[in-house]
């Protein structure tokens, strides 16, 4: 066991600094666990910085407002120490996330207690606008069987396909952190450039590298009218 590395870690703990990472052996892990257990019992040490709760609370309030508001929000100037990079929530991701779930949209998703369970496949959910209108997104003739076409309207982006059992429209926003998905036409998959998640055009999760399962892509209500493919979107 390397004494130096564990000492450095323990020293950081005792100074309330972030301990430096390293590849720990089992023995080292035991020492660190003991150190943490002792540290956890110190009342004075465990309280967070005074502004922590209030800062996080306003950040969450902002997040929630973004999720409910349609698109194009000026990004916050990362002054918060809980800035984007730490949690992988880039500004691009936040803007896109807003585009994916706009005002008036009610996603029929429940709590994902699947975080505890094995990675079972989850039923895809629908994005149902409770006040919405049908918007044409593409001409029917431009969506041939076997093709996948991307559409982008205010406020939604996604991918259309035409399997044998009917037209399908899935969200084009990664359910992990909200990045725009890219079509990989060769494999018929939708890929996320941020963390290598991949989805089928049905919305089913094909691949991800997150510790917890990520949700399948929500689907939009879609129909064909007058030679146009239309999607039910919020708003008038």
């Amino acid at each position: 066991m390397s004494e130096r590395r564990t000492r450095r870690f323990v020293r950081a703990l005792l100074r309330q600094r972030r301990p430096p990472p390293f590849n720990a052996t089992q023995e080292e892990a035991d020492v660190l666990r003991a150190a943490i257990a002792l540290r956890a019992a110190n009342p004075a040490a465990s309280l967070p910085a005074e502004v922590f709760y209030t800062e996080l609370r306003s950040r969450l309030t902002d997040e929630e407002a973004r999720r409910r508001a349609p698109v194009q929000i000026p990004g916050r100037s990362g002054s918060s120490r809980y800035g984007p990079s730490r949690f992988g929530l880039t500004r691009r991701g936040l803007l896109v996330g807003g585009a994916g779930l706009a005002a008036g949209v009610v996603a029929t998703e429940g709590i994902d207690l699947g975080l505890r369970a094995r990675e079972s496949s989850q039923a895809s959910s629908s994005v149902i606008a409770d006040v919405g209108s049908w918007r044409p997104v593409i001409a029917s003739a431009e969506l041939l069987p076997g093709q996948v076409r991307r559409f982008s309207t205010e406020p939604a982006v996604g991918f259309l396909s035409r399997p044998p059992d009917g037209i399908r429209a899935v969200s084009g926003v990664c359910t992990h952190q909200g990045c725009f998905l890219r079509l990989n036409a060769a494999n018929d998959t939708l890929e996320c450039p941020c963390h290598s998640a991949a989805f089928a055009t049905t919305g089913e999760v094909l691949h991800h590298e997150r510790p917890a399962p990520i949700r399948p892509l929500p689907t939009f209500q879609v129909r064909e009218r007058g030679g146009q493919v239309e999607i039910l979107l919020p708003g008038n």
């Binding site: 301990p19 892990a29 002792l38 956890a40 709760y53 998703e109 917890a212």
Partner: protein
């Protein structure tokens, strides 16, 4: 445990008057439902009104839970924020409070596991599946350290020889500097460091079988 002057010296950056209980600083006083008598209470079968209510009710508990698993403030703060930010999306407010809390604990479990994977390559501590947030009384939320952590630390220390126990108590629980610890024990600073490390290693063997 014996009170040392280390805490009163404001070692952790906070002034502490001996004999008074630690008060939550104003910034930590979140709006909460009217205070209830300090006893275990059954969580009422109801729901949270909005996301802010979820936060107000659970932020301190969650932070405390994560601190007890990572042992330092910056990581505990980051991981707490990460849990809430991750939970924001999938969370359905029409769920019962217990469900929401269970969900937050499950999310914390995942966030913690990912943290260890990223930093040390193995799970140093974990959150068990039956870890329970809503069993904690209100008073426990106000207290900086929960009773479980303290009991566990005492148990660890009890099994050590006198000098090892003393150095760990001074350094970890009392927040004394190496210099102060050395003075209290009547050894050199260098000796105190060696003592601390050996004490920790012995504590690690005691701790060994049951990772938390």
């Amino acid at each position: 445990m014996s009170k040392q002057r280390c805490l009163t010296a404001g070692r952790e950056g906070r002034v502490r008057v001996p004999g008074t209980r630690r008060q939550a600083s104003p910034a930590l006083r979140l709006e909460a439902p009217p205070a209830e008598p300090a006893r275990l209470r059954v969580v009422p079968d109801d729901r949270y009104l909005d996301w802010d209510a979820v936060y107000v009710d659970n932020a301190q508990r969650l932070y405390g839970l994560l601190f007890s698993r990572v042992g330092n403030r910056p990581d505990a703060e980051d991981l707490t924020a990460e849990v809430f930010l991750a939970a924001l999306g999938p969370l359905r407010l029409s769920a019962h409070k217990q469900e929401v809390r269970a969900y937050l604990v499950a999310a914390a479990r995942t966030v913690l596991a990912a943290h260890w994977r990223r930093t040390l390559g193995r799970a140093i501590t974990t959150i068990e599946l039956d870890e329970d947030l809503h069993g904690m009384t209100d008073r426990q939320v106000d207290l900086a350290a929960d009773g479980i952590s303290q009991a566990r630390a005492e148990q660890l220390l009890r099994s050590l020889p006198e000098r090892y126990r003393a150095v760990l108590e001074l350094r970890f629980l009392q927040g004394c500097s190496v210099r102060e610890t050395a003075a209290a024990l009547g050894v050199t600073v260098a000796n105190a460091k060696v003592l601390q490390h050996r004490a920790l290693r012995m504590a690690a063997q005691v701790e060994g079988a049951a990772p938390r």
